[in-house]
Symmetry: C2
């Protein structure tokens, strides 16, 4: 096994480390702190996995702290027309008042076992690729079943290093969960989209649930005690949570392709959609109401893409990637066994070049970007269902296989309202983009427009289609290919017209993707053979440990690490209390009692990503000193690599949470349970 530092130099306090392979040496060397097995076990057993988020036990009686935005879906479902807990908040004065959350399931990681050998042993070298997949699936199911029977725990085998290792994760599952406390959404998400990914921030983005067992609060001897004073600037702290997905094993060519093509193209489209939604909203208040969610989503996506692109445009970031890849490939080239993995890098670059050539046509015809209307999606589905249903299940396009039939029907027969004027606007605009990208002399573009202008075509189609009627969709769905062929609906005719071309580009695109995956597998195998598990694997929603320092932004445009209630008040007043900078009447009445200097949010340089929301931050003594709730914009490049320079995790400060629990929400019972 190679010395890892040579091949893959880690940057500063980088890393989303497995609890089974913690960064003991690095932390010892860099910060003179000894991560002991006991310290680690305590933190692990205090950590809670939410679906897509994180949390932690904060009392011996199953009390759980997480983000308000992690709990928001549940809180919304618990609300009624009389009681809007999302808007107004919720507090159970007594244990009996805690609100059951049906369907919610939380997991605590009890043990990790390496089962790689058993998995690999079951997959013989002489099997075909398909047989290997089946054999692997089978042995994994067997391991999970056996372990579950033995321990009574929730068992899951997870692939690490793209299959370099297989780990058995055993969880204590809590499926009886109740809501204990949530602040009102205005305080929790103060500043809304405009302040999202920015700093300074002022969010009380926290709430409490409680795990129950057999109708009683669960006994959770491992829980995190709060340190109200939090951590100081420059102090070493740890984050334990469930980062979702990272792509740090992408090759340099892939990152360059993201930087030079995918992000710029995606952004061009997002800017356009945003302007369109805004223009439509400005024309009519009702439009504005309807467009709000789409608009917020588009803006959020635009900000996130822009931030990731910014990260990839940082030459220092790309230089590190270039150097580490150069070193890695140097080692690969030097060893016969790994030469194919070296060459796989060039193969990926070549395939990306092919992909660039077809991407516009693939996006326009197969991706449907030329036809921005929900009617086209319906027509496409109806045409393809009819075509694909005639084939054996295994030969169909994946989204038309029987296993996905329910969700396909759910989407196709959804009664979500359609606004014809917006469909016309959006379709006309996307046909205009089609003309710009492919040229009006493209033969298929000509057929599509048939001598009309994009706007005319859009009006004609949206006024002429009957697909807005769910009964019509159902009739065509049930009528099969015959009904489709006989249909005079203009959108069905359109979907038929472009289907051949669309499938052609999709096939090419799929072949390129598959080629890239195969090349990647070669690289991953070689890397794992070379480095083993000395480096953390890409994030995959398993529990990870990050370490780092509480740290503001460096000059030239430095920002202090901590914000205070005074800052929040100033922001509120500066924006004249207009949403999303508004605060509840209760807040305005009572928050004055809080000392203006009390800390509210802070930033640190921990390596996190989506899924870490709600993660506890602890100090050397394992005390809770923060609650992760966001990343700043420069931190969003963490998909591709750690950015300790300006990337920051954003947390709620314990002093801030305690202050509002005391003064605004007056949650006496809860404060007592937390030890205050």
């Amino acid at each position: 096994m190679m010395v890892v530092g040579m091949v893959f130099p880690l940057h500063a306090d980088e890393g989303m480390w497995l609890f089974s392979k913690p960064p003991v040496e690095q932390v010892k060397e860099r910060h003179d702190f000894e991560i002991t097995p006991e310290w680690l076990e305590h933190l692990r057993k205090s950590s809670v996995r939410f679906g897509g988020g994180s949390g932690s036990f904060v009392s011996p009686d199953g009390l759980i702290l997480t983000n308000h935005h992690v709990g928001a879906g549940t809180i919304e479902r618990l609300s009624t027309t009389e009681k809007d807990y999302l808007k107004d908040g919720f507090y159970a004065e007594n244990l009996e008042d805690e609100l059951p959350c049906p369907g919610m399931e939380l997991n605590v990681l009890m043990s990790i076992t390496d089962v790689t050998e058993r998995v690999n042993a079951a997959v013989g070298d002489d099997l075909t690729a398909d047989e290997a997949v089946a054999a692997r699936r089978e042995v994994i199911a067997e391991i999970e079943r056996e372990a579950g029977k033995e321990s009574g725990l929730n068992c899951e085998v997870v692939a690490m290093y793209r299959g370099g290792q297989y780990h058995l994760y055993q969880f204590q599952r809590y499926s009886e969960v109740k809501l204990v406390f949530a602040p009102d959404a205005r305080a929790a998400a103060f500043g809304g989209d405009p302040d999202n990914f920015e700093y300074p921030r002022y969010c009380l983005d926290f709430c409490f649930f409680r795990a129950y067992q057999d109708g009683k609060p669960a006994k959770t001897p491992h829980f995190l005690k709060w340190k109200e004073a939090g951590a100081e600037e420059g102090e070493l702290t740890f984050v334990s949570g469930h980062p979702g997905r990272t792509n740090r094993s992408m090759t340099l060519a892939q990152m360059e392709s993201m930087r030079d093509r995918q992000f710029p193209q995606g952004l061009e489209r997002m800017y356009r959609v945003e302007a369109l939604l805004r223009a439509w909203s400005d024309r009519d208040l009702e439009n504005a109401r309807r467009a709000k969610q789409s608009l917020v989503g588009t803006q959020n996506g635009r900000k996130a893409s822009q931030a990731r692109l910014d990260g990839l445009l940082d030459p220092a970031f790309m230089d590190r990637k270039r150097e580490s890849e150069k070193a890695l490939r140097g080692v690969m080239r030097a060893d016969e066994r790994w030469r194919a993995a070296d060459e796989a890098h060039d193969e990926i670059a070549r395939l990306l070049g092919e992909g660039a050539e077809i991407s516009v046509r693939e996006r326009m015809w197969e991706g449907g970007e030329a036809f921005g209307t929900r009617f086209f999606g319906m027509a496409r589905t109806l045409v393809r269902v009819a075509e694909e249903s005639g084939k054996p299940d295994g030969e169909r396009l994946p989204e038309y296989q029987e296993s996905g039939r329910d969700s396909l029907e759910h989407g196709l027969f959804s009664e979500r309202p359609i606004h014809l004027d917006f469909e016309t606007l959006w379709l006309g605009d996307s046909l205009t983009v089609m003309c710009g990208k492919l040229g009006v002399d493209d033969p298929l573009v000509k057929k599509v427009l048939d001598g009309k202008s994009p706007r005319e075509r859009a009006v004609e189609w949206v006024q002429g289609t009957e697909l807005g009627d769910v009964k019509v969709r159902r009739r065509l769905y049930e009528g099969g290919m015959e009904a489709i062929r006989e249909s005079g609906d203009p959108l069905i005719r359109l979907a038929l017209l472009v289907d051949g071309e669309a499938r052609k580009w999709r096939e090419k695109g799929d072949a390129i993707s598959e080629g890239i995956s195969q090349a990647h597998r070669k690289i991953a195998e070689a890397r794992f053979a070379m480095e083993g598990d000395a480096v953390y694997p890409d994030a995959n929603f398993t529990l990870r440990l990050s370490y780092g320092l509480v740290r503001g932004y460096p000059a030239p445009d430095g920002v202090a690490a901590f914000t205070t209630f005074q800052g929040m008040q100033e922001r509120h007043e500066g924006q004249k209390g207009i949403a999303p900078f508004d605060l509840s009447d209760e807040w305005k009445e009572k928050a004055g009692a809080i000392d203006a200097g009390v800390r509210l949010n802070f930033v640190s340089d921990h390596d996190i990503t989506g899924g870490n929301s709600g993660s506890p931050m602890v100090n050397r003594d394992g005390e809770l000193v923060g609650l992760i709730f966001d990343s700043n914009a420069p931190g969003l490049v963490s998909d591709f690599g750690y950015n300790g320079g300006r990337g920051r995790a954003v947390s709620v400060h314990p002093a801030g949470m305690l202050a509002v629990m005391r003064s605004v929400y007056q949650t006496e019972r809860l404060l007592k349970e937390l030890g205050f």
Copy 2:
């Protein structure tokens, strides 16, 4: 001379006709109406030219009707902190109350004389190009001087058909003008930007001025009587006004280039700027206030560009152009004398291709799109002033010649406030675009970024520059090349770094433009030789006559021709009275007295463009039946050609104006003067 119809078939009621060459035959044939010299003279002498707009006399005592938005600049200048006439409106109860408008100058066209022979005679065939320009300029000045001495009028020689003809226009000038009445801006511009270019509309976009002579109301025997009932759907009417610029003599290749490159590229940029301004505005109310004007301007530009692109994407529109060009070139090819003009079409297409290849670099480096900050503009000016001042005046870049020195200094030393956070945002974004368009491996991009990311560079430069201080700019301006070379200011260093490359692309771009102009001149000469003045020349702010019908939009998404006060009230309520759909308290109190069915705005298919704002519309009897104030979106393609299909002129209805003058503003004196 050729029969015109063969070469250049006109479309329906197309045309911005010269008053010296009215469409007598066409109107007779199509609408069975005889345009008599008397009818025409009366309309001409009732028409008033505003700077960039139009108007008409509506009483024998010099009372002038125009658009509120034509008068808005003047109305704003007359306002004080106590009296905001723009916001609240203005009405002079008595003649003595009318408000003098210093600097305002109006012109009425008294005669048109063809002076082509005299101009051409003065320009000998043996002169060089420069000598010819000088000789032409001299004889024109001489004609204007002589005519002015003789008639006492304001004389101007205008080139038509790119110099195919020269006309002497003699104007009665009125430089003593007073404001008589203006409604409040909320009523005048009801619906603001969201409703701009759309229909239905509900704008009271009118106001009155009065021409004075020697301190007394001017005697204006030619004026338009109002017909309160207006014109009916389908009725023939005429518009007399001053359309500004059209480019209908563009070749097909040029229009295709606008459609396939210029508009899509421009729109991509506008969408981006709009999103940026919105995001910046959302972060801070003060930002929102500062960005408002830029945002409205960007949106307006985006809508207008999109509408023009829509027009060029209409295959029917382009087919007409293609056919007329084909016919024209066929005739040219058939005659030795005009063969060069035929070939000039290909030369233009070739040059456009060359232009397409350099356009990104020209825009980025010379156009400064890579450096979106006002600081770069300052630095560029300072660097170039220093460089260019060392050359003889005639050899300098035009904008650095002595004749433009005043306006250059005015711009450079402007104290208009600069917002550093926006400069950083905008600069960072434009550097990102630069990376996307040119690639991060471009040698000059590398030098510009110098190993930093776009955002880092933007922060560094905006924080490091001292050009925000007007004293620093003045010192560098006065210090010449030496001061520039010694300056360590990062923006000055940047402007120096890119100057060579920028100049290189500018030279290429200028050579291409000059080549296109020359080719165009050949075509124009040949066309004029073939067609003479049978077809109207491109618009050039001279008085023109358009004819057409009052007409709503055709199916499938038809809209009725007329709107009413009821429609306005519904729009106001539908938008909950939120700006720009708000109305004044006075309006709300008094407008209820107006019958809900009274007509307010209407559309017609007249051929108009920018500059026609404020044009009177008259019926066969020469009565005023409307006041042009806008074009709808499909009409904006009129730059390139007439769109009678869906293009519409939008007018205020006389009944609407009279109703509010009676009920809301109670302008008794004015109503009496108008004959009501």
